[in-house]
C-alpha cells in the first residue's frame, strides 16, 4: 500500500504523517501519533468509542480515512485539558460518577464537547441526541447526562 503524506493539526500542534491509503483516522491517531486515548470498540461506526472532533464536528474516527484529513483540525481526548487543567466536561464526569470502565468515556467527552461548541445551552434532549451514537454498557447514562448539563452551565 502506497503511503500518503498528510499534514494536519491534532490538539493544536501540526503533524506531518505518512500513512497507507487504507488507514483510518483512528488507526493514524493510535498507531502513528500514539494517541491511544481514542478507543476502538467496533471499527464500523456503531459504538462511538473512537469519537473525535474534526473541524468542529464529532466524527467516528474509524469511519474517516486518514487521507481525508489533509488540513483538518482534530481534537482528541488528550487535547481536552488546557495546560493540564481538566475541561469542565472532564471535571463533571468525574464529579457526577459518569465513569465506570471508562472505555466509552473519551468518545462521550468528545461528542459532548462538539455539542457544547456549537450549542452552549443544550436542552436535555439535545444532549441525548448528541450522545445517541455513544454506547455505554456500565453507567446507565443518567450521570453522563447530568455531567454534560453541569458543564454546559459553566461553559
Amino acid at each position: 500500500m502506497s503511503l500518503h503524506r498528510i499534514t494536519l493539526k491534532v490538539n493544536g500542534s501540526t503533524e506531518i504523517v505518512d500513512v497507507p491509503g487504507n488507514w483510518t483516522l483512528l488507526q493514524m491517531l493510535r498507531e502513528k501519533l500514539a494517541l491511544t486515548g481514542t478507543k476502538n470498540g467496533c471499527a464500523s461506526g456503531e459504538c462511538g468509542a473512537c469519537t473525535v472532533i474534526m473541524n468542529g464536528d464529532a466524527v467516528n474516527s474509524c469511519m474517516v480515512l486518514a487521507a481525508e484529513c489533509e488540513g483538518a483540525e482534530i481534537i482528541t481526548v488528550e487535547g481536552l485539558s488546557k495546560e493540564g487543567q481538566l475541561d469542565a466536561l472532564q471535571k463533571f464526569m468525574i464529579e457526577t460518577g459518569g465513569i465506570q470502565c471508562g472505555f466509552c468515556t473519551p468518545g462521550v467527552l468528545l461528542s459532548a464537547k462538539a455539542l457544547l461548541m456549537r450549542n452552549p445551552n443544550p436542552s436535555e434532549y439535545d444532549i441525548r441526541e448528541a450522545l445517541a451514537g455513544n454506547l455505554c454498557r456500565c453507567t446507565g447514562y443518567n450521570r453522563i447526562i447530568t455531567a454534560v448539563q453541569k458543564a454546559a452551565a459553566v461553559h
Binding site: 493510535r30 500514539a34 494517541l35 491511544t36 486515548g37 481514542t38 478507543k39 476502538n40 470498540g41 467496533c42 471499527a43 464500523s44 456503531e46 459504538c47 468509542a49 482528541t76 481526548v77 488528550e78 481536552l80 485539558s81 481538566l86 472532564q90 464526569m93 468525574i94 464529579e95 460518577g97 465513569i99 465506570q100 470502565c101 471508562g102 472505555f103 466509552c104 468515556t105 473519551p106 467527552l109 441525548r128 441526541e129 450522545l131 445517541a132 451514537g133 455513544n134 454506547l135 455505554c136 454498557r137 456500565c138 453507567t139 446507565g140 447514562y141 443518567n142 450521570r143 453522563i144 447526562i145
Partner: protein, 735 residues
C-alpha cells in the same frame, strides 16, 4: 470522620477522562508481533487436515500454530473440556472437533496485523461436517448428536432438590399455576473487545497483559495448557473495559502465552499482541444462558405457597464454562426467596452446538428469578390477592428453611426490602392488607405497574474453595507515612480499586491519599478470587481488614516496615446432596426488590419504562455514588435484556454479529426515572456490614417489567425480550 460511606473520587477517574488509562489494546511494546485467530465459523465438524504452507510462505508471517503445538490441549474454568486449538494430532481424543463457530483452529503471527489477517485467510482447513444440535431439549434426547462422545451424553450437569412431599403439597393447594418459560441469550457487549500482549519479563516469566476477572485463575489455566509451572507465568490486568462475567472464561490468554513460548523456542524473543474485532468478540466469548423452565406451583386460598415443582434446562452451548455453577444457582433460586414446604426441582445443563453460555451478571439468578416471580405473580392474581400482600405472606424470614433444608445465614432482610420498595412505589397498607397504587393514565397508551423481588448469593457457593488475600505494608518511622496495599482484585469498571483504598484507609486510620495500590499482577499480589458473584467488596474488605489489623500489631511492636499478608476465609458452604439437594449453599446474600411502571403503545407495541424503584439492601454502602452507579447500570442492562436485546443464532451461526444488529440500550432507550433506594441492614460478617450488590439490581427487573406489561395489557408474556413485534403478536394485532 469515617471514610466508609463517603463518595470519594474513583482512583482511576482522572486517568480515564484524560485518555491516559491503558487498556490491553493500548499497550505497544518495541518490536511487537501481531496475531490473528483462524476461527472455525461452523458449528460442528471434524478437522480432517490443516494446511499452513501457504500462510507460512507469505512474507511477513513469522509462525503459524495449530493443535499440534499446544502442549496440553485443553482448558476450562471448571472442566477441561475445550481444546485451546481444535485439530488433528492431539493426544486427547476428540480434540480434532470444532463444536461451535467460535472454536479456534489456527494462530498466525506476523509482523503486522494486516499480514497476520492475510495469513489467517491462507490457512486451509479441511472439515468433515457433523450433524449439529441447537436446542437443549433435542440435545437431551437419546440418539442426539453427541458434542463430547467421551462423556456419553450431552447432559453434563444435573442437580435435584427434594423437600417435603410434593404430591401431598399439591393436594393441599387450592390454586395451581403451571407454566413454561423461556429466557433469551444475552451478549455482554462490554465496550472493550478482547485484547492482550504477551512477552517474557526480565525474570523469564511468560507475561500476559490482558483483561480478565481473576488473574490467578488465568495464570493457572495458561500454565496447565503450556505444561509449565504456574510461577513461570505472570498475568497482569491493566484498565479493563467492562466484563459483566464475559471475561471469566479464557479468550486470548492461553493463545498469547503459547505464541511467545513457541516463538522463543525458535530463537525469536518478541512480544505478541492480539486485538479482537467486535465480531470476533461476539462469536468468541460466552453468552448468558438461555433457560427453559417447566413449572407448577400451588398455593392455598389464604395465600400460602405449599408446593413448587420446577424443571430447569440450561443451554450450556459447546463447552461447560461456568454452567455447573450457574445451574447450581438457578437450581436454588428457581423457587425464589420464599418458604415453601414441598419442593421438587430437577436441573440439567446440556451441551449444544451454540456458543458456550456462561457467566453474566446474576449468574443464573435472573433466569430463575423470572420464572419464580412470574409464578408468584400469577398465583397472587389467581387468588385475587395483591402481589405484595401475597409475597409478604411467603417471604423467607430469619431461620426459615430454604428448599435445600437449611436456613439462610443471619441478616435476612427480604421482607423489609420488599416493604420499602412497595411503599416507595406507592403501595399502601390498609386494614385489608397491601394495596397497589393507581397508575396514572398516559394519553393514547396503556399503563401498568409490576413488582418483583430476588435474593442472590455473595461469594462462591456450594463448597467451592473461597478465600481472598491482601498484603499491607506500613512504612515510616514515628508515623505511618506510606501504605502499600497489594491486591489482585480486578477493576473492571465497578469501582473495586476505589473501595479497596477506602477500606484500607479506614482500617488503618490513615488518609486515603497515603495508600498506594499495587493491583492485579500475579508477580506481586496474591490470589483474590474472581470479580464475580458480587463478592469482591465483601471478600476484599475482610482480607484488607485482617491484613490491616495484623500490620498495625506489628507496627505497635516497632517492626519497620510492618508487613502483613492475610487470607480471609468465610464460613464454609457445601455441595448439593445428589439425591435431596440438602446443602449449605452460601455464606452471605443480598436482597432486592423492584417496582416498575410501564406504558405500552397499543398501536406500535413499544414499551416505555416510566418509573423504576429499586430497593437494594447493600448492608453498607462503602461508596454510595459507586453503589448507585451499579444500580443504575444494572437496571439499564436488565432493561435491555427484558425489552431489546435479541441475540440470534440459527443452526449454530450467529446472525447478530455486530452492534448494529445486536442492539443494546443507547441514551435514548433508558428508563425515564430510576429511583435507587439504598438500604443498609448490616450483614453480620460483611466488612463494615457490607453485602455484595453488583448483580442484585439486575435480578428482578425482567419479571417486574413483564408483570407491569400484564397489568397494562391484560396479557402474560412468558418469553422475552418484549420487542414491539412480540408485543403486537401477543396482543393479537399481527399474526
Amino acid at each position: 470522620m469515617s471514610i466508609i460511606g463517603q463518595s470519594i473520587t474513583r482512583v482511576d477517574a482522572e486517568a480515564k477522562v484524560r485518555g491516559q488509562a491503558l487498556y490491553p489494546g493500548d499497550v505497544y511494546l518495541p518490536d511487537m508481533l501481531h496475531m490473528k485467530v483462524k476461527f472455525a465459523l461452523r458449528p460442528h465438524a471434524r478437522v480432517v487436515k490443516i494446511d499452513t504452507s501457504k500462510a507460512e510462505a507469505l512474507p511477513g508471517v513469522i509462525l503459524v500454530l495449530t493443535a499440534r503445538d499446544v502442549p496440553v490441549n485443553e482448558y476450562g474454568l471448571g472442566m477441561y473440556d475445550q481444546p485451546v486449538l481444535c485439530g488433528p494430532g492431539g493426544v486427547k481424543e476428540y480434540t480434532d472437533r470444532v463444536r461451535f463457530e467460535g472454536d479456534q483452529v489456527a494462530l498466525v503471527i506476523a509482523e503486522d496485523e494486516e499480514t497476520a489477517a492475510k495469513g489467517r485467510d491462507l490457512v486451509d482447513v479441511e472439515y468433515e461436517d457433523l450433524p449439529g444440535v441447537y436446542d437443549p431439549i433435542e440435545a437431551m434426547k437419546d440418539g442426539a448428536p453427541l458434542l463430547h462422545p467421551d462423556k456419553g451424553s450431552n447432559i453434563f450437569t444435573r442437580y435435584r432438590i427434594r423437600k417435603g412431599d410434593i404430591e401431598e403439597g399439591f393436594k393441599k393447594a387450592d390454586v395451581i399455576v403451571e407454566g413454561e418459560y423461556r429466557t433469551p441469550a444475552q451478549e455482554h457487549a462490554f465496550l472493550q473487545p478482547e485484547a492482550g500482549v504477551a512477552y517474557y519479563d526480565d525474570q523469564g516469566r511468560i507475561t500476559v497483559i490482558v483483561g480478565g476477572q481473576w488473574t490467578h485463575k488465568d495464570r493457572d489455566q495458561i500454565a496447565h495448557a503450556l505444561n509449565i509451572p504456574a510461577d513461570q507465568v505472570r498475568v497482569i490486568y491493566p484498565a479493563i473495559g467492562g466484563a459483566f462475567g464475559g471475561r471469566e472464561d479464557m479468550s486470548v490468554q492461553i493463545i498469547l502465552a503459547l505464541a511467545v513460548m513457541r516463538l522463543k523456542e525458535k530463537g525469536i524473543d518478541r512480544p505478541v499482541k492480539i486485538v479482537w474485532t467486535r465480531e470476533e468478540s461476539i462469536i468468541g466469548h460466552n453468552k448468558r444462558h438461555p433457560f427453559i423452565f417447566q413449572t407448577r406451583w400451588g398455593a392455598t386460598r389464604d395465600g400460602k405457597i405449599v408446593a413448587a415443582k420446577v424443571t430447569v434446562i440450561a443451554d450450556g452451548g459447546a463447552y461447560a464454562y461456568t454452567t455447573p455453577k450457574v445451574l447450581g444457582n438457578a437450581n436454588l433460586m428457581c423457587t425464589g426467596p420464599y418458604e415453601i414446604p414441598n419442593v421438587w426441582v430437577d436441573s440439567f445443563g446440556v451441551y449444544t452446538n451454540n456458543i458456550p453460555n456462561g457467566a453474566f451478571r446474576g449468574f443464573g439468578g435472573p433466569q430463575s428469578s423470572f420464572e419464580a416471580e412470574m409464578q408468584v405473580s400469577k398465583l397472587a392474581e389467581k387468588l385475587g390477592m395483591d402481589p405484595v400482600e401475597f409475597r409478604m405472606g411467603n417471604l423467607l424470614d430469619e431461620g426459615a428453611l430454604l428448599s435445600v433444608g437449611t436456613p439462610l445465614p443471619r441478616g435476612v432482610s427480604i421482607k423489609k426490602v420488599v416493604q420499602k420498595c412497595a411503599e416507595t412505589a406507592g403501595w399502601t397498607q390498609t386494614a385489608s392488607g397491601w394495596q397497589a397504587p393507581k397508575v396514572d393514565a398516559i394519553n393514547g397508551k396503556w399503563t401498568g405497574i409490576g413488582l418483583a423481588c430476588a435474593f442472590k448469593n455473595v461469594g462462591f457457593s456450594f463448597g467451592a474453595p473461597e478465600q481472598c488475600t491482601a498484603t499491607i505494608e506500613l512504612h515510616g518511622e514515628a508515623e505511618i507515612d506510606r501504605v502499600i496495599l497489594k491486591h489482585s482484585g480486578a477493576e473492571v469498571g465497578q469501582g473495586s480499586h476505589t473501595v479497596f483504598v477506602q477500606m484500607a484507609a479506614e482500617a488503618l486510620g490513615v488518609p486515603v491519599d497515603r495508600i498506594e495500590l499495587v493491583a492485579s499482577d500475579t508477580a506481586f499480589s496474591e490470589n483474590s478470587g474472581s470479580v464475580s458473584a458480587s463478592r469482591m467488596t465483601f471478600m476484599a474488605g475482610n482480607s484488607i481488614r485482617g491484613a490491616a489489623q495484623e500490620a498495625l500489631e506489628k507496627w505497635e511492636a516497632e517492626e519497620r516496615p510492618a508487613i502483613s499478608t492475610y487470607t480471609y476465609r468465610p464460613p464454609k458452604t457445601s455441595m448439593y446432596d445428589p439425591e435431596t439437594g440438602k446443602s449449605e449453599p452460601n455464606f452471605a446474600y443480598g436482597y432486592v426488590a423492584e417496582a416498575v411502571k410501564v406504558s405500552v403503545d397499543p398501536e406500535t407495541g413499544e414499551i416505555t419504562l416510566e418509573d423504576i424503584v429499586c430497593a437494594d439492601d447493600v448492608g453498607k454502602a462503602i461508596n454510595p455514588q459507586q453503589v448507585e452507579g451499579q444500580i443504575e447500570g444494572a437496571i439499564v442492562q436488565a432493561a435491555g435484556y427484558a425489552l431489546l436485546e435479541n441475540f440470534i443464532q440459527e443452526q449454530g451461526i450467529t446472525k447478530t454479529r455486530t452492534l448494529s444488529t445486536y442492539l443494546i440500550p443507547t441514551v435514548l432507550d433508558i428508563p425515564k426515572r430510576v429511583k435507587p433506594v439504598v438500604l443498609e441492614y448490616a450483614d453480620p460478617i460483611g466488612p463494615w456490614g457490607a453485602r455484595g450488590m453488583g448483580e442484585m439490581p439486575y435480578m428482578p427487573l425482567a419479571p417486574a417489567v413483564i408483570t407491569a406489561v400484564k397489568n397494562a395489557t391484560g396479557k402474560w408474556f412468558d418469553e422475552f425480550p418484549l420487542t414491539p413485534e412480540k408485543v403486537l403478536r401477543g396482543l393479537g394485532k399481527i399474526p
